[in-house]
Symmetry: C2
Subunit: 105 residues, 2 copies
Amino acid sequence: MDDELSRAFAALADPIRRDIVARLTADDMTVTELASHHDVSLQAVSKHLRVLETAGLISRRRDGQQRWAHLEVDVFDLLTGWIDTYRRRAELRYQRLDDVLRRNP
Amino acid sequence: MDDELSRAFAALADPIRRDIVARLTADDMTVTELASHHDVSLQAVSKHLRVLETAGLISRRRDGQQRWAHLEVDVFDLLTGWIDTYRRRAELRYQRLDDVLRRNP
DNA sequence: CTTGTATTCAACCTCTCGGTTGAGTACGAA
DNA sequence: TTCGTACTCAACCGAGAGGTTGAATACAAG
């Protein structure tokens, strides 16, 4: 697990991280604010944010004492791109199968 | 990590499993055939297939000594559904921001 | 019945993940 | 400068992931 695709999928495999991503669609948020919604320590949330940042799903900016997390939606395209590619191939396969059956009933 | 969404994301976080999924878009395949393309033991591939099955990404059928793996594309919808929901929310947020800026230039 | 082939089960190992606590850093306010 | 707040770093822990090897199971073919 070292490429960006693997990191992105792995990042979203955790429910807390998915919840963080969901909240960041509404607004940029600080670590403390994000941590207030979860029953884990602030340090744990800080770790989750680092994972999301490494996966390219968020960027971070410092403003005084606070560190604001900002959602980066581009990685979403990477994921849907991969999924759609193979979904399309699978559908194409069934299409061909249907053709064969139609030709040889 | 216990819900179906988490299992699906986690399953696709591994490069070998993504490659297996990719190959299964072309045709159903046996364990031995899938293992022949990877530099890990047959048992390791067998484990990967179990993970994919638990995640709902494949189904399996026995035919004689062979166990055929078959791709189930429905879980793809679960993933793209989640992603698109939040991508849309994020875009909506920028839309509103643009409106505000346009109104208060 | 025996042998070979396809696959899984079981035990084990190592590394990573997600969590904790405690200390350190960076900044704002008084 | 001192104090409180926001956050990260570091060390540790338990559980699980992903790999291995060796034995067991299931079936086909002689």
